[in-house]
């Protein structure tokens, strides 16, 4: 999140390297968070006689929940890959010289960028067929595949904007210099412009991935058996004991935090590094 202001009197806004989480080293976070989340449940265990200690219950379920979380990661990586490829094409479409392509790409980008992720997920869930037949061959379309497609839509729109923003942020002198050397537009784009853009695109792209990973839990609302769905099922099969809620939801929060926080820190570090190199 480094941005320049339009005011030359104002200092450029830079995000400081975040202080270590509560001033702790990275590996300290795990035990502290575990304690914070499980602490209250231990308190419950002492006051109530019936049922197992919530911590023990959570430990029993943890392997299954972890599997669910891995599924979240699979969804996130697939949706990111798909969304990046299509989004990059759409982004290039936005800087096309052909007005129809440019306008169309712009509209598609804006349309999917303005829509809430959850609505797009519903969109994919309900409007895609459960199977498609190509040449008589029936290919099933399971829910998780629809979820990947649904989540890749907003990724696509955001990648498109990242590409457009990065290309536009290059000084026009680069285009002019290439043109004066008789490069074609395609050559200019591929040999001169895009290589310089990759660096600028990497931090927002990673940020987007982090957002996407956190959005994969939305798939639970439409019934994909990822970590949130499994958590709900685990809680139900334990008879809905209220003292289990905090440790279980806390556990899910913790999983995502452990995965996303390092990505966020790495992104900030990249931003800083590129900001210096320019």
């Amino acid at each position: 999140m480094t941005w320049k202001t339009d005011l030359p009197v104002m200092l450029p806004v830079t995000k400081p390297e975040p202080e270590p989480f509560l001033g702790l080293k990275a590996w300290h976070i795990l035990p502290v968070a575990l304690f914070a989340i499980l602490g209250p449940s231990l308190g419950f265990a002492q006051t109530e006689d019936g049922g197992q200690n919530p911590l023990v219950v959570l430990m029993n379920w943890a392997p299954l929940l972890l599997q669910g979380f891995v599924f979240n990661l699979v969804i996130s990586v697939s949706a990111m890959a798909l969304g990046t490829v299509v989004g990059a094409l759409l982004g290039l479409g936005q800087i096309s010289l052909i007005p129809v392509v440019r306008g169309g790409s712009w509209f598609v980008t804006q349309f999917f960028r303005n829509a809430p992720w959850l609505v797009l997920l519903f969109f994919a869930m309900f409007l895609l067929p459960f199977e498609i037949s190509i040449l008589g061959l029936k290919i099933p379309f399971p829910d998780w595949l629809k979820a990947i497609l649904g989540l890749s839509l907003p990724v696509m729109a955001n990648v498109s904007e990242i590409v457009r923003g990065a290309v536009r942020s290059l000084p026009s002198g680069q285009w002019e210099a290439a043109e004066s050397l008789a490069y074609t537009r395609m050559q200019t784009l591929w040999l001169i412009i895009l290589p310089q853009c990759v660096k600028r695109m990497l931090p927002p792209w990673m940020n987007l991935y982090s957002i996407l990973t956190m959005a994969t839990v939305l798939a639970s609302i439409v019934g994909v058996s990822e970590v949130m769905t499994l958590t709900g099922q685990a809680l139900a099969s334990e008879g809905g004991r209220p003292e289990l809620l905090a440790p279980f939801y806390g556990f899910v929060l913790l999983l995502f935090f452990i995965y996303c926080y390092p990505i966020a820190r790495f992104t900030v570090r990249l931003e800083k590094k590129f900001a210096v190199i320019g």
């Binding site: 005011l7 009197v9 104002m10």
Partner: protein, 248 residues
Amino acid sequence: MSWNTSDPMVSLKDVHKSFGDLKVLNGVSLDVMKGDVICIIGPSGSGKSTLIRCINALNDIQQGSILVEGQEVNDPKLNKLELRKKVGMVFQQYNLFPHKTALQNVMMAPVRVLKQDKDAAEKSARALIKKVRLEGKEDAYPGELSGGQQQRVAIARSLAMQPDVILFDEVTAALDPETVGEVLQTIKDLAEDGMTCILVTHEMAFAREVADHIYFTDRGVIVEHGPPDTFFKNAQDPRTKEFLSQIL
């Protein structure tokens, strides 16, 4: 606390100031009488700017005494507001408020700080803008003015507080060469009106023309001082001589 006009208006005695381990002022003493124009010159990093920033308490000092019209500045119980009504300041980077027009910049402090009536403040602000020869620029924002124009607005802004003495901190250093003249002319007008001025400057010709007294500082001490003619013709100290030979 009583002060009369035959006493120095600003009086520094053995002022020491350091930033951490770095000693910036190392026992500076000087007196400025009412109506005096004094110029402080010296190599960069010799503590000139710090010196005048201490006079209106933008920097605090560790040791010594600064009296402004008999009021001690080096005092934890100092009423900074009272001090700053007496001491105006103009900065190298103008430091105008970018979201206010020239007129608003000039009348803001009288209205907010001195609680002047808005119409009266506007009237005197317009007069001041005329005085710095910027008629017609009242409604321009700082970003729409040249450096020299901005600096003149900054001088008018300072004058609006009706200070007894104005500090000028290298006010032409950030300007384009062609606009330096207009700012110096404005300061000269002020000096001729009898305003007490303390300037830190690199403009030697200007210093020679307007100053009543010149101080040369190096490494946190005043090396030499005197009226301009004597100072520029008969510098005694080798450090002064070397500095002048590089600059003139």
